[in-house]
Amino acid sequence: MNSLGEAFAAAWRLIAGFDAELAQVVGLSLQVSLIAVVIATLIGLPIGAMIAVGRFRGRQTLIVLLNALMGLPPVVVGLVVYLLLSRAGPLGNLGILFTPTAMVIAQTVLITPIIAALSRQIIEDAWREYDEQLRSLGARRINAAMTLIWDTRFSLLTILLAGFGRAAAEVGAVMIVGGNIAGVTRVMTTTIALETSKGDLPLALGLGIVLITLVIVLNALAAVIREMALRRYG
């Protein structure tokens, strides 16, 4: 119990003192996850919108598949990306295994289905309300898709934050493709895993506190933005 208290105190000193190693790890975490969210949004949002307003064969199957992909096990994603990027793999000559780029790829694969599936749901719900009005005004499906993305922008922002949270908190995939190399590919989650097994609790705990705080702040931010938007735009 006492050692736990000491570990907490030490963790707090690291955070309060802007410990260089801790800051570096947090910084890389944010950078990798942020880039992954941006790329996943550029891919996932149009996919979600097109499925939402589209009418084509196999649509229902695609939705089921997409929803299932939301639960992709990170270690499996890590393994597949690892095989693709390893020397003998099809993308081996890129030489990006064990770099932050590989981690961005793994996280993007992980959260693109989440952003596509959740945005599909939100946009489709809005489409039910807007459908006749938009068609009456002369909107084609592609116009409608873009209009709906814009009109649901505050709800969609919540999804992006959820995707970011998932990416930042994930450990299996980045561990495999990043390799957890100190100063290069070490992020919050992988460092926590490593330091815990080494018995260096202050750093692990400090990062844990930062990680949890980050998740809470993100969710609070999402709630505040939605609330403000509702009040302002109805």
Binding site: E129, Y130, E132, Q133, L134, R135, S136, L137, G138, A139, N143, T147, W150, D151, R153, R232, Y233, G234
Partner: protein, 240 residues
């Protein structure tokens, strides 16, 4: 665009027949009111005419839209105002400009035209406000402005005042008359006899998916030809 001809029009959803063989010819000019009890098929008939629903049988022909035998894009020449208008999450002005931009107007043209119609419906001072925070009556006026801005040959209105108080209703009716005066054909549904009388020149009385009467307004109220219409009038205005 007009005349509009409906030829043995039918529509069913699943096993339920909603429109059962309606034939009618609607001419340019008079304000046409589609009247009937709730569930008669008024809204569905209007959605079929506007092209939001596809008939399961029969034909809809816009005779005036045949250009040397070829049909032109008829939807561009129509607009519709719904019972509960859907406002986009943007300003009132941007809501009106939305349809204009879809119709291919430049940003400049759209802006000028949108401000003009907002002025006419009395919403110019709210142009910059988010549309969804306007009151119900204001939203419906905005919906009218958005439809009118497109300069349609035909304007469909589906129970446009069903959810509004008397003052807002009067505003809406005045605007409908102004749109009529500007040369746009008005086709509207209502189940309110007072409104039918105030706004209608001719009545299409629908009951249970069938067209029971197509008559000038005076004749309809003086001597309804069908027992259904007589019963509807008596039920709505028992003092007469």
């Amino acid at each position: 665009m007009l005349p509009l001809e409906l030829d043995q029009l039918t529509f069913s959803a699943g096993n339920a027949a909603i429109i059962r063989g309606i034939s009618a010819r609607i001419e340019a000019g008079p304000r046409t009111v589609i009247l009937g009890p709730n569930g008669a098929g008024k809204s569905v008939l209007m959605r079929l005419c506007h092209g939001l629903l596809t008939p399961t049988g029969g034909r809809i022909v816009w005779h005036g839209a045949m250009n040397g035998g070829k049909s032109v894009d008829v939807r561009r020449h129509q607009a519709m105002v719904f019972q509960r208008p859907v406002m986009l999450r943007r300003s009132a002005l941007a809501n009106v400009m939305y349809g204009l931009k879809l119709a291919g107007k430049s940003r400049n043209q759209s802006g000028l035209r949108a401000m003009d119609v907002l002025e006419v419906v009395g919403l110019a001072q709210h142009a910059a406000r988010p549309a969804r925070v306007l009151s119900g009556g204001e939203q419906q006026r905005l919906a009218l402005a958005r439809a009118w801005a497109l300069g349609p040959d035909v304007l469909f209105l589906d129970e446009p005042t069903a959810n509004l108080d008397p003052a807002s209703t009067q505003d809406i009716e005045n605007i409908i008359n102004a749109i009529h005066a500007s040369g746009t054909k008005i086709i509207m549904t209502t189940h309110n006899l007072g409104q039918a009388r105030r706004l209608g020149d001719e009545i299409l009385f629908i009951s249970n998916g069938r067209l029971m009467e197509h008559t000038p307004i005076d004749k309809f109220f003086r001597q309804p030809a069908s027992s259904e219409a007589a019963a509807f009038i008596k039920g709505e205005m028992p003092w007469q």
